[in-house]
């Protein structure tokens, strides 16, 4: 195991960086898209609610791999050539945003409806009330579940291995087939994933307890 870290340190580090980079980019955009659809779901406008419902149900019920492969295989045929890393990150963003939308919606609905009514009665528009009154309160509730979504995101980023995204999992396979010691390579890869996910998971559990 130490030999793996010693001989392939550069590859492992590169993979670790790619995994982290892809997760952070996907988190950023899926937070924006997810929150947008969550707000759509709570608007009084029926059209937006239907759109949001369809988006969430569709992407929650299709495997991430299908979405990612779609971007890797279909998009280059019709639109533009994109790298495996880009295809993987786009796939992850879309998939995760559907879950984040559900989480944020639950957060918005857990805020006392009197807050919205009070804000509206004080002359704020729906969007102003959402932006300044409801969302800040909702986000406090949703931080632990959002953290768990981020953990899932880091784990799910291993699909980049399917599309040559040069992430940790991909480099793991390269190293495993080069060093022929599969067992210890996968243990090393596991340790590197745990470095990201395990502290986050304990932190989120602590936050959950604190907020409850």
């Amino acid at each position: 195991m130490i030999a793996i870290f010693h001989n392939y340190g550069g590859l492992l580090l590169q993979g670790f960086g790619q995994t982290l980079l892809c997760s952070v980019i996907a988190l950023f955009f899926s937070l924006i898209i997810g929150s947008m659809f969550a707000i759509f779901e709570t608007t009084p406008i029926k059209f937006l609610r239907v759109i949001a419902r369809i988006y969430i149900e569709v992407f929650r019920n299709i495997p991430l791999l299908v979405i990612t492969m779609f971007f890797f295989v279909v998009i280059p045929m019709f639109v533009a050539k994109i790298s495996g890393f880009a295809a993987g990150t786009i796939g992850l963003t879309i998939y995760t945003s559907a879950f984040i939308a559900e989480t944020v919606r639950a957060g918005i609905q857990s805020v006392d409806p009197g807050q919205m009514e009070g804000a509206r009665a004080n002359g704020l528009s729906f969007w102003q009330a959402m932006r300044y009154i409801v969302l800040p309160q909702a986000f406090r509730y949703v931080i632990p579940p959002l953290g768990n979504q981020f953990i899932n995101l880091v784990k799910n980023s291993s699909v980049l291995a399917f599309v040559a995204g040069f992430d940790l999992m991909y480099q793991g396979n390269v190293i495993a087939s080069d060093s022929l010691s599969t067992m210890s390579t996968y243990v090393c890869i596991g340790i590197l994933y745990l470095i990201i996910t395990l502290p986050l998971s304990y932190w989120m559990r602590y936050l959950e307890k604190k907020l409850a």
């Binding site: 991430l64 791999l65 994933y193």
Partner: protein, 217 residues
Amino acid sequence: MKDFINAYSWINIHYLLQGLWITVVVSLASIAGSYVIGSVLGIIRYVNIKVISPLVGLVIDIIRNLPLLLIIFFTYFGLPNLGFRPSSVWATILAMVVFESTMIAEIVRSGIIAVDPGQMEGARANGLTYVQALRKIILPQAMKKMIPALVSQFISLIKDTSLATIIVLPDLMHNAQIVYGQNSTYILPMFLMLAIMYFIVCYALSLVSRSLEKRMG
């Protein structure tokens, strides 16, 4: 349009349905296995046996925080190093059961915690033993609270079986890749069909959960 008609010939659809069948069988086997093992682990973690419970907790936390794909690789490519060589079907089921039972253990544990502690006290005060109280009073109530989380875990299990295409499990995703590999005009129709098939299976399951929740709630 012609591409779609050609792509959806009976031979191709039949081949996809064979893949769907493998996906469903592997998922059901994994669900059954991980439900049983996960419940046991969850209860062990809840009842706080000395040494064993913290140890189980640590193992659960480690496995839960690894990517499933890594565990699939581990069972298929890693285990042969130890002299055990499972087929791709068994490797997938094994990986799924190991990974999902830790997820289910966490759901079971938080379901039990969510039951009012007065229930346990009341049951004990009425003369039931700890095990009886757990089995007859606490678990049935916890079950009700766990259903939505359990079903969404099962849905993600079904979706995640697609990852096993990488170890050549002949599931839906794998068969679709074979079909569109023959003819590039089939790519778009195949992806559409993949999305539809997975969606139907997973969405149907989520509808079942919703009606269960209504009936029990």
